[in-house]
């Protein structure tokens, strides 16, 4: 029987849509970075998309407000809207439950 090795945690892929330096966008970036560093220190990748620079991305990804956090993987894809100040709520979404 092969030895039981802890299954490596799936890599967490996140994308945060923001609007330039707008206050809630800055809050969202800060909150998300802190959260991931604390709970997923080595297994996360965050892509930040500024819709002011790339408005077409909003259309492609179906984003209607900023800031919006999208958990791309592991599945299922999850959206969180807002400044991400409620850590519990964000963790639950990221936990894939």
């Amino acid at each position: 029987m092969p030895p039981l090795r802890p299954k490596p945690a799936p890599r967490l892929r996140l994308r945060l849509y923001v609007a330039g330096n707008a206050p809630n966008s800055l809050h969202a970036i800060a909150n998300l970075t802190a959260l991931c560093d604390q709970h997923f220190p080595s297994a996360h990748h965050i892509e930040i998309v500024d819709l002011l620079t790339h408005p077409q991305r909003a259309l492609a990804d179906g984003i209607i407000v900023t800031p919006t956090l999208v958990k791309l993987s592991p599945a299922p894809v999850q959206h969180v809207v807002g400044s991400l100040s409620d850590a519990t709520h964000v963790l639950r979404a990221l936990g894939g439950s």
Binding site: V18, T66, V81, G82
Partner: protein, 697 residues
Amino acid sequence: MIREAAPHARPLARRLAEAEETIAALLSREIDAVVDTPSQTPVLLSIAQKALRASEERYRRIVETTDEGISIVDADGIITFANRQVAEMLGYTVEELIGTSIYRCIGAAETANAERRLQQSERGISEEHEVTYLRKDGTELWVMLRTTPIHDADGRHMGTLGMMTDRTHRRAAEEALRKSEAQYRQIVEATTDGIIKTDQTLTIVFVNRQLADMLGYEPAEMIGRSLYSIIGSGGKEIADESLRSRQLGLHGMVDTTYRHKDGTEVSVNIAGSALSDGDGAFTGALGIVRNVTAQKKMQSQLMVSDRMASVGMLAAGVAHEINNPLAAVIANLDFIVESMSVAPGHPSPSAPARDASWILDDIRSPLEEARDAAQRVRFIVRDLKVFSRSPDHEQRHPVDVQPILESSLRMAWNEIRHRARVVTQFDAVPAIDANEARLGQVFLNLLVNAAQALPEGQAERHEVRVSTRVEGDRVVIEVGDTGPGIPPEVLPRIFDAFFTTKAVGVGTGLGLAISHRIVADMGGTLTVQSTQGQGTVFRVALPIASMTPVALPTDAPPATVHGRRGKILLVDDEPTIVRVAQRILATEHEVVATVSAREALARCAGGQRFDLILCDLMMPDMTGMDLHRELARIAPEQANRMIFLTGGAFTPQARTFLADPPKEYIEKPFDAANLRAIVHRHLRSMTPDPAPPSAPQ
């Protein structure tokens, strides 16, 4: 989520949860921006921008739906925004306007004003002006323009917001109003009548040029004055009464007087009305004022000319009346002269000498006849005087009607006697308030009219009836005839001026009109009643005088009195008067006589003193008035001893002289007894002269 959704429903549940989250985030203000996709290109809008866009949308709607034209012009005058209304007003499209200089829409005359407005805006000043723009087709657009500066968030001036309201229609209305006002003003200024308007306190608020000219003011001087300040004496009651009746809604004219700036009175006829507001409250008075001073003067001239005509017409009759007694005087005096020439010491072949006593008996009777005849002449002349009083001698005083009627009858006698008998019925009536000469004129007119209504040569068949009686508070005088009567169609016009049924040259056509006016002026009425075939009666009713008549100087000589002997100076330019007066007075007094006032003055200046100076009033060279004035200066007590002789032909100056202060005078002709009595009376009433003693007693 209370329970796990079925696997196929999981994505949907997730989307719902996300939507809930989105809404929650929006509500908790955790959203920065919303993605808008107005076209294929998505636009990211911040929440603030989104709100601005919404509010801009609202403003845009307002800007496009308002009736006002709204535009924004930058500092260089370039139109950066214009709504549809501005474009329509100016006749351009919005696209044509934006980017265009505002000066393209402004006439040359307005350019400077437009520049100034933009400068004011840069200084932060909002303004409101009436402005004329040029439409694309070159016509003028008249707008009310409000300009407001626009600043950015940092306070930099961005341009000027202009809001314009089209006033072209309003201006047309105002233009029409102005034209109509101008029309009224033209009427008010062009009319020859004066126009005056007051407020409810009777303060003058408007007068036209004519009214101001009428009273010698500038129009501006009169505004703010009380109406009463320009009303003449006695006019206040008339004005009050008139205003009362106007306020009751009565219309009509009133004759009164206004006071000229120089203090003289101006006769006016006023058509007035009371002004009231919507509730009927009195708000002022409006008067159309006509100056009738000239008309009044004309009327008075007409009255004089009528009187002249009356007197002229009667002159022949009067001459006849005078000739009869005058013939008796001359014939009797001739007879006496002849008798004297055959008196003793003057033998003549035709008349043997007779004794003196017989001659005296012989001439007594012709002398008395001559005197009686002369007396008759005197009465006729006195009657004439009733009618020859100066027309400006208009004072009214209580007078007895009957003597005036009798004078008038004598004057008209020559007209009447060939046509009718005169039947008089004079009741004792109280005095009336009237002017003697004017009343005589009325009676004479009526009597002559009555006579002329009758054919000549049938005196026995016709009557002129004259009667007086009292009716209530009036004295009624009736003058009737038994002529054919006045046709009914003519009767209403009988008192119209220049209306006459008489042949040309017979009447002036003024007699009855003027009589009517005279009687009305005296507060009375003149009416007519006529029955065809039976005759006509004119009826004068005049108010009884409130005062008893002043006793007119009587000619009846007072009982002969013998006073002291006096020294009398007699001055008259008519030598016959001087001689006869000297003859009458010299039997009792020492008389110094002269035909020159200068000689009289020289005597007094030389120290002579007189108890009495009898002096003619009117003399060529130096008059009695001149003498009085000179004496008053050099010998006042001698001036006080003057008694004036007058023939009655008074000038206004002479009348004033005699009346103020009152002076003694004797009317010519005087008879011997009369003259003696007056002299005695005055000598008695005067203290003996203290100065150089007069003639020895």
